[in-house]
Amino acid sequence: MIKCVIWDLDNTLLDGVFLESGDRPPPVSTALSEVLHDLAGRGILHAIASRNPPEAGVYTEQATGHRFAAVVCGWGAKSAAIDAITAEIGLTADEVAFVDDDALERAEVAFRLPEVLVLAPQDLREAAALPLLGAPASTEEARRRGELYLQRRARREEARAFGGSREDFLRHCGTRVTIAPASAADLPRLHELSVRTHQFNSTGSAVAEAEFAAMLRSADHQVAAVRLADRFGDDGLVGACVIATSPASWQVRLLMMSCRALGRGVIDALLAWICRAARAEGTDEIAVTCVISPRNVPLRIALTSAGFRTGKELEAGATRTAVYRRPTDDALPELPDWVTVPA
């Protein structure tokens, strides 16, 4: 059971950035403040972990009318703030949830404190409907989502206790990654992934179902869907790529993966498959057009790790973009044996 929710402030509990708002601090997010009071009514504590001066905490207590169980405002890592809060209140990491709009802060906490339930603000309302957060009734969707959180936690706890390499651990979990041509039944989920993925998304813009449908019909495009499962549970469709194929070059128009699949070898498997499939078709080069943003750093690390390199940024529009390329004639990344690919 979650006993305490730890809140980020800027662009999370507050509708704006405290230090950038001059004399008038940003208002409290109405939607999230409602959830905060709901949860407090169920006996759940609240705390603040914010990269701000202490005044931000004082202001938020006044603005929400809620007395927080602990307030850590400072410039350290969020995981350190959470450690301090759990120590102060006397809770363990598996009894707290952490809400932050910044994907990298969430990644840092998920990485260092695997027991913490890490949520984006838009996921909090959904999570608040779970028994895990003291909700009484449970819909089928809420039950399924709750199970997913529990599976994730069980996997992380086992990972922490496991001695071998990451690859050994993925094998130990019975990880199965399946890459296959997407079908019409996948369209709603493909659209949803294009909206909801940020850390692993090469374009950062939503793609309508109709656009995916057109690419499924196109002879010059491949749309590959990636599914993930292991003995803890079935995560379903977690990623995809869209490739414009020509004999000379494969142009990857979109690469995306859900952060649900983070740390489970999926993005590396997808990139390895693209490289190997392109070579099997006799294509000399693969080019991935990728937005340069602080949000998709994990994807850019995966690209360079798979041997992709870029030259100068493209000079087009306000969005920073670069093309990452690699030839198919040198040593290609390995495709682990738990990955199933199209014949």
Binding site: A107, E108, S165, Q199, F200, I292, V297, I301, S305, T310
Partner: protein, 92 residues
Amino acid sequence: MTRGSADLTGEIRLLLAEITGDRAAIEAPLGTPLLRDGIGLDSLGGTVLLTEIKRRYRIDIADEDLNLDSLASIGALASYVQARMAAPRSPQ
């Protein structure tokens, strides 16, 4: 205040050991790659590293070094941070 490159390399080794949970990074040769088979950082571990470098040294590697060549090895990362601390970029 200046900082010796040995201190900096030591700090980076400790940080890597902390992120990977494996003390091997403290003794590994300077040429050891950070990703994949070397220190074994995956994209998430690499992101945590870059976030921590930005927080500690105010150097945004992901923004400046698009090919992330500074992640090629322990030594490459230490040299990059050292060089950037010696010659800060002027704000644009």
